[in-house]
């Protein structure tokens, strides 16, 4: 089974406000507020860490959930965020710009 890689879309603006991750699409100015799981995924999405590793290291310990279920849910979430153009999903590592043009922090 191929591994999945996820990366923040550098074309969106993002800020963590007192634990709430706010993301604004550069495409249509839509504002998203990420829930806790999505925030963890967003923060860990560096383009080089496979999704299953993110799930195993960051999500499973946080939510006491089985790796299989967590990975399935995380993949659905990642694809949903990708459909909204705030995240990138690929079966290959995703190169990241040296100097991110976005405001992701």
């Amino acid at each position: 089974m191929s591994r999945l890689y996820v990366a923040r879309n550098p074309r969106v603006a993002a800020r963590n406000l007192d634990g709430e991750m706010m993301i604004m699409s550069g495409r249509d100015s839509t504002l998203f507020t990420l829930n806790k799981t999505a925030t963890i995924l967003w923060q860990a999405a560096d383009g080089s860490t496979p999704l299953d590793e993110i799930v195993a290291r960051r999500i499973c310990p946080e939510f006491e959930i089985s790796p299989e279920v967590a990975l399935r849910d995380a993949e659905t979430l990642a694809r949903d965020l990708a459909a909204r153009e705030i995240m990138q999903v690929s079966e290959q590592p995703i190169p990241q710009p040296s100097f991110p043009s976005g405001a992701a922090r």
């Binding site: 800020r15 706010m22 550069g26 405001a103």
Partner: protein, 274 residues
């Protein structure tokens, strides 16, 4: 043989909002008079013409171009902003500082162009145009944000004599030092009364809600941010500017206290402000 030329007098005035002068040129004396009346209190001088970084030539047309209630269109194409609504068409080259407007002889069309241009400039300079009333009391500015019907006009009407109204509709804020400064604007709402052309540091932003008692409640940073963004006047969809607005809004809520202000429509609400 002398050269035959048809020379048309160019008439000008400078409309200065938020310390940003915009020179407007026309050939129509009646339109110039109309603008002088409309923007009284916000007219700059010609003593330092180089300060006018933005200049528009207005071409008047009759009959009126179209429907002023149509949607605004703001596009950036090859270095030129193209602005349009049913009642006007405009272009602005920010690099050259020049633009032109085609509209009928009315103050509303150019007012819309000015709002758009100010919003574009502010987005780059760390400022915002907000759907909010604002007033100065004891040297500090208070902003009252809300959609139409939230109470901006009401709270403006209820302002006591020691409060100076900056606007009942569109607040103009710009980053200054460690905080933000609010400026008076000629952009009016239902009150149809121009704000005073003064400025003061922003002390608080209140999110308006009408209720059965007067009270001020804290809001979470996330709610403050979302509410602020939902009240920002911004017309363009260019990614850099959208990101800039996002950053300014984030910075604003991290520096300016934001609360929910629930109020009854009577003057006692101002006892809580200031």
């Amino acid at each position: 043989m002398p050269e035959l030329t048809a020379e048309v007098d160019r008439l000008s005035l400078v409309i200065e909002v938020g310390q940003m002068p915009v020179r407007v040129n026309t050939t129509d004396p009646a339109f110039l008079n109309l603008l002088q009346d409309r923007y009284a209190g916000f007219l700059g001088s010609f003593e330092r013409p180089s300060d006018s970084a933005i200049e528009f030539d207005v071409e008047l047309c009759t009959p009126p171009v179209g429907d002023p209630d149509a949607d605004v269109s703001v596009k950036y194409c090859h270095g030129i902003w193209k602005l349009g609504r049913g009642d006007f068409l405009a272009e602005w080259n920010p690099a050259a500082g020049r633009g032109r407007i085609r509209q009928s002889r009315n103050p509303h069309s150019i007012d819309a162009v000015l709002r758009i241009v100010h919003s574009l400039v502010l987005a780059k300079e760390g400022g915002l145009l907000l759907h909010s009333a604002s007033a100065v009391r004891d040297g500090r500015a208070f902003l009252f944000a809300g959609v139409s019907g939230a109470g901006k006009t009401t709270i403006s009407r209820l302002a006591p004599s020691d409060a100076t109204l900056l606007t009942d509709e569109i607040s103009y804020v710009r980053r200054h030092g460690d905080g933000y400064t609010a400026f008076g604007t000629p952009f009016t709402g239902e009150l149809a009364k121009l704000g005073e052309n003064i400025s003061a540091p922003v002390a608080a932003l209140y999110l308006l809600a009408q209720g059965t008692e007067n009270r001020i409640e804290p809001v979470s940073p996330g709610e403050a941010f979302r509410s602020l963004l939902s009240n920002v006047l911004f017309f363009a969809e260019e990614q850099d500017l959208v990101q800039s607005i996002f950053s300014v809004a984030f910075d604003f809520v991290s520096r300016v206290p934001v609360s929910r202000l629930t109020f009854l429509p009577d003057t006692r609400i101002w006892e809580l402000i200031g």
